[in-house]
Symmetry: C2
Subunit: 127 residues, 2 copies
Amino acid sequence: VSLEMDPINLEKVLKSSREALMVTKKQYLVQDWCKTEPLIQTLKVRGCITKYVLNNFCYGQCNSFFIPRTPKAKAKKTPFQSCAICKPKRYSMTRVTLSCPGRYPPFKRRRVKKISECACTSSQALQ
Amino acid sequence: VSLEMDPINLEKVLKSSREALMVTKKQYLVQDWCKTEPLIQTLKVRGCITKYVLNNFCYGQCNSFFIPRTPKAKAKKTPFQSCAICKPKRYSMTRVTLSCPGRYPPFKRRRVKKISECACTSSQALQ
């Protein structure tokens, strides 16, 4: 059994991809966060009276990792990979009617995605 | 100009999507992290002597946000959206030759992605 490696402190090196997966999971237990903060969204359409809608926006820091793993067959590479992003978890679609006095018809409808809650949500990420 | 909203502390509400974008950027300035940690990767093929390669794995917490924004035309929705994930930034492909005494030919080659550096990298995420 040979070990191809550069000089390094062997004590600290993890022995397997599975072990690495456990380490990342432990690190992740409490530290991610994703905030839901209020925001006034402007609905501006030419010829209509501007309306303002209370909405929320999301921002935060979510977990992701990439752990190399060797496939047993000579098939494709299969790293352990995970990615979460801070995005709307609960929302509703509401319809807002704008008044447009100089136009016919004198109104316009707009659909707005009203975000009620954001969360770190696991996501398939493009490479 | 009307404001459709629930009772809330108006002082705290951001006035526009652009303002929200600035807040998220400020929050993000220093806080994201993405570690590069050593890992022994096992190359195990039936009939061959197992080899171990020093590699690295990535894990961390990167920024993401989702800010609603109303498009001027009735086209598709265009939120400000960003997602970064902790993944290999620098790597090299190396070839490892396994010795397989009982087989013909008595060796097997495997390509390994050797990760040298991980970083929070912005990524297109599937919804």
